[in-house]
Amino acid sequence: MTGTMPTYLGMPSFPRAAKKAVADSQLRRNLTHATTAIRAKRANAVAELDDWEQLRQAAKAIKDHTLANLDTYLLQLEGNVTRAGGHVHWARDAAEANAIVAALVKEAEADTVVKVKSMATQETGLNEALAARGIRAIETDLAELIVQLDDDRPSHILVPAIHKNRAEIRDIFLREMGDAPADLTDDPTRLAAAARAHLRSEFLSAKVGISGANFAIAGTGSLVVVESEGNGRMCLTLPDTLISVVGVEKLLPSWQDLEVFLALLPRSSTAERMNPYTTIWTGVADGDGPRNFHLVLLDNGRTGTLADPTGRQALRCIRCSACLNVCPVYERAGGHAYGSPYPGPIGAILSPQLRGVTSAIDASLPFASSLCGACYEVCPVAINIPEVLVELRARSVAEHKHPIERAVFRLSGYVLSSPRRLAAAQRAASAGRHIVGRSGRIRRLPPPLSAWTDTRDAPAPPPESFRAWWARTRGGAE
């Protein structure tokens, strides 16, 4: 079964969206600045550990084992959460998850909720679904707040407002945040202080907090949230009711397994040895934290993805965003072009699997890569993203009949699979080489090859192919 991401319906294909982004000078500068800085920091943080590769292989093995035994571990998690006083709900897709959460918020008699930064609820479009039912959801992660105030979308998994610079953020605060000081500057400390003051009253009055989780430990029923600001911990501990929406792939069997991931995740995402705040909770406890805890386990296309032997490795992802930061395509196209809360290389293999390859954006995402492999190199759980991309390309081609492209590939396949036919084509190309001029360069070709010659010259064919030269000089029989 495929999942849905309701707020991302009708997105244009990747090349169309990227064309706009590539021409946006402010966006290009913001992205290059941010990704270049974090890229170098990550490399240093990783280089500090001499067992990085072993950790990476261990993480891969743990995730593969868990995914292969997901049924067992999910039931174990449900049992342990329930025993610890929590309630477990199962959501097949985005709509079910949103309906469950909305009903729980109504039950708590709340019209406002505070949110921890969560990819799962971005995926389900929870904020919009709650708004439609008269419930206001307040993002409390600084960057998510910026994006929400600007009525924009996140463009990075870890740094949702990476596409904005300080001056732009100051303008958003002054425009959209009623209690922002009138003399606010673009000094990061002052910007953070303004957001802090703005959020404080919401933390103290909210009855319901909503979160995702980085990890769920089946063996004890514990949930783990890893963050930098401490705003997450406010949401996780202050309100009476806590609702956590968690993808079923977030499971780990035990605390011993968590150790591996806590070594990998901060270094890969923020280039820190350890993140500032790690909150772990198990059900409810008297006099400490929320009195009601609900865990919503989300499928939304994950079990469908699990069925594909190559594609399922995408479910190992721990949302560190290292692949985004090293990706030359992401750096130039930006996050919005990926038409999903999951941008960059991981998004290009995750979104088309979770949602299927039917829409314009999902059919084009597997092609949004030069297959350079930088993503695979840095991935802390060793997801071979290029391998999955090329498999999804085959799926996209099978789903969408492009009659002309198919004919071209059939014909070229026919020529290229036979040395005799290839030699004939080479002779024809050599004979026609003077049509293109004497410079040895082709400056202009008709569509679709004009996509090449718009920015690059093409070489003219040589007078003689290698094969013809060999036959002529070495006497080899062809």
Binding site: V22, C372, F409, R443, A451
Partner: protein, 245 residues
């Protein structure tokens, strides 16, 4: 050792001088090179664009053409990686057990030129002379699929008269990516613009790489912008003796 040259369809058709250069270098080192006429294409473009079924006959043709060679040497790390990593996948998907056996036999014997010279033959000085300012672009598949490491740089450093200079952000993709270059032309061109600017920054007169496909893309932009920088395959520099070039 029986050496078969896999010249690749692109180099065969568009850049025959690279193929001749591979022959020159290997013969200079005292080896006999054969060119199995039954070869055509590794099928990478079809495979990477989603036309997997169309790539199967090419994998079959490759295994047949290179059966019996001790070493298969190619001036494309990308095509070498295609054979090594994905021909087994194609054979498995085609459900052809005989093909799978042939591929398993032939694929591990495919080497890109640089690692064949340094790794298999144990040579870094191939007796070349090239008195020019050169920068080297490590192509993505040579780095991340064939793991050539610094083999090409060691070969270049041993070239007589060469002024080898570092390329800034060398390991960033040039933006070619096969059909990516026409399916996502804006991002591809943006990546190439940065590669061209890095090459200009190095103030090299020649940019060198181990793959004619990436070079065709980089060279296309260098030429379009009239930079006066030329591109050369690694093999052609290694074949050079300083006379013409």
């Amino acid at each position: 050792m029986r050496i078969g040259l896999f010249v690749t369809c692109l180099t065969d058709t568009m850049f025959p001088e690279t193929g001749k250069a591979v022959v020159t270098v290997l013969e200079r080192l005292g080896h006999r090179v054969e060119f199995p006429a039954g070869q055509s294409c590794c099928g990478q473009m079809h495979f990477n664009t989603g036309y997997r079924r169309e790539a199967v006959p090419m994998a079959r043709g490759f295994a047949r053409a290179f059966d019996g060679y001790d070493a298969i040497v190619t001036p494309s790390a990308s095509c070498a990686a295609m054979v090594r990593e994905y021909h087994p996948v194609l054979a498995a998907e085609a459900g052809d057990a005989a093909l799978a056996r042939q591929v398993a036999d032939v694929a591990p014997r495919v080497h890109d030129l640089a690692t064949f010279l340094t790794g298999v033959l144990g040579v870094t000085d191939v007796g070349a002379r090239f008195p020019h300012r050169v920068t080297y672009h490590p192509t993505c598949h040579s780095l991340r699929m064939m793991h050539v490491g610094d083999a090409p740089l060691r070969l270049l450093r041993a070239v007589g008269g060469i002024d080898l200079v570092d390329l800034p952000d060398a390991e960033t993709c040039c933006g070619f990516g096969g059909t990516f270059s026409v399916k996502n032309p804006d991002v591809s061109a943006a990546m190439c613009a940065d590669k061209v600017s890095a090459i200009r920054q190095s103030r090299a007169e020649v940019v060198c790489a181990g793959d004619n496909s990436c070079l065709m893309h980089i060279d296309g932009a260098l030429s379009r912008q009239r930079t006066g920088v030329r591109s050369m395959h690694l093999a052609e520099i290694l074949a050079s003796t300083g006379a013409g070039a």
